[in-house]
């Protein structure tokens, strides 16, 4: 390698390394601020300023959804399986909204509950045919049944 090329190699490598370090520092400093959502545990631990609008993320707790009969109002509980947070929302819900599904709600705290202005469904990275899902569910039930049976014995 000629000296000119060696010099260019060093300069170009240094520039790329410097930009990389700068980007890493920015990403590190932004840290929590780039978080798209907060979990109920984080909210209850006081990571969110009061009166701030933020996104609450978690799973819709099973058997917690109550729909008003005369309006579009929906009440449900969002959980991260550690802490729970009651949510109130009036409006149309996305297709994937259902109990046991992850959602992201935008809004702010209103007393003890979270008043949502927008609900987005968060999808996970698992894809499978319905039959496979049924088989997995069935296997889970068999597992539970046998666990219950052994516990009863």
């Amino acid at each position: 390698m000629t000296p000119t090329r060696k010099r260019r190699l060093v300069i170009v490598s240094l520039v790329v390394a410097a930009v990389g370090v700068a980007a890493a520092l920015i990403a590190f400093t932004l840290g929590q601020n780039t978080n798209y959502l907060f979990s109920p545990s984080e909210v209850q631990a006081g990571h969110v300023a009061p009166d701030a609008t933020f996104r609450l993320g978690g799973v819709v707790l099973e058997n917690s959804v109550h729909r008003a009969s005369d309006s579009l109002r929906v009440d449900f509980i969002v959980t991260d399986r550690f802490k729970e947070m009651p949510v109130q929302y009036t409006g149309i819900l996305p297709d994937l909204f259902r109990e046991g599904q992850s959602i992201v709600a935008t809004g702010k705290m209103d007393g003890g509950h979270f008043a949502a202005t927008q609900i987005l469904a968060k999808h996970d990275e698992t894809y499978m045919p319905p039959e496979v899902h049924d088989a997995i569910e069935k296997a889970k039930h068999v597992d539970h049944a046998s666990a219950d049976a052994s516990a009863a014995n």
Partner: protein, 257 residues
């Protein structure tokens, strides 16, 4: 000089590369088309429905291969840009600049298909989470490289300036890829994993992988085509281009005289 460096030097010379590219290009396009059609048929017709999303999940057969190509094209461009900056090899300048519009197109398709899927599934066309924002930034980086390349008169100076921008933008690649792990995002995590089991059923995975191979081949086909044009433009006055032009115009020339 050993054989390996000899072949590198030979491949790096525009006439040799042009000859090889001309021979390879139809194969890239042809195989890409065949695999792509099989993959699309497999993904849109043969593969079963998803247990939660029904038929709407089928957009991943376009979205995911294009997203991979958006990143791959950038990496390819950045590696060539690096070689172009350090060794000033004409061919690598041409290759780097040839991959920018192709990568931009793949990134654009990724953003559009993701948006189309996001509305019914998430409930919104667009949201500023880390994955979506960094992917948009990737598109703007491509635009920046293309714009800078076309803003400077001298082709080789333009290529080197744009190469520099391309190389700096490479820090965005890990951010795009790992954004779903580093931050809480609305976008889901990676489904197909190189290490560890993929989170997708085998009946849905094979069309996806076929389409991934097809998009790679299509990318190389387009880059070769663009690079051939770029080399001819740069070497317009050289002997090999003149010979080529004469060889191609011979039938009509003999007809006239």
């Amino acid at each position: 000089m050993n054989t390996l460096t000899y072949w590198f030097h030979k491949l790096g010379s525009p006439p040799t590369f042009y000859r090889i590219a001309t021979a390879l290009q139809p194969w890239c396009y042809g195989v890409a088309l065949v695999l792509g059609l099989i993959g699309l048929y497999g993904g849109l017709v043969v593969a079963p429905k998803d247990y939660q999303q029904g038929d709407a999940y089928r957009i991943i057969f376009v979205h995911v291969p294009c997203a991979w190509m958006g990143l791959f094209a950038y990496l390819f461009m950045a590696v060539n840009a690096f070689i172009a900056l350090v060794w000033r090899i004409k061919l690598n300048e041409v290759l780097a600049m040839a991959s920018a519009p192709v990568g931009a197109a793949f990134t654009f398709v990724t953003l559009v298909t993701g948006s189309l899927w996001g509305k019914p599934m998430w409930g919104t066309w667009w949201t500023w989470d880390a994955r979506l924002t960094s992917e948009l930034f990737l598109l703007f980086l491509y635009f920046g490289v293309i714009g800078l390349y076309n803003a400077i008169e001298d082709r080789r100076q333009a290529a080197r300036a744009a190469s520099f921008l391309a190389l700096i933008g490479v820090v965005n690649l890990p951010i795009v890829h790992f954004s779903v792990n580093w931050w809480n995002t609305l976008h889901q995590g990676s489904t197909v994993r190189l290490f560890g089991p993929s989170r997708i059923d085998a009946s849905m995975l094979w069309p996806l992988l076929l389409l991934a191979i097809a998009t790679h081949l299509w990318f190389f086909g387009s880059v070769l085509a663009r690079a051939r044009g770029g080399l001819i433009e740069l070497d317009a006055g050289k002997d090999w281009v003149r010979t080529l032009a004469l060889a191609q115009s011979k039938p009509t020339a003999s007809g006239v005289t």
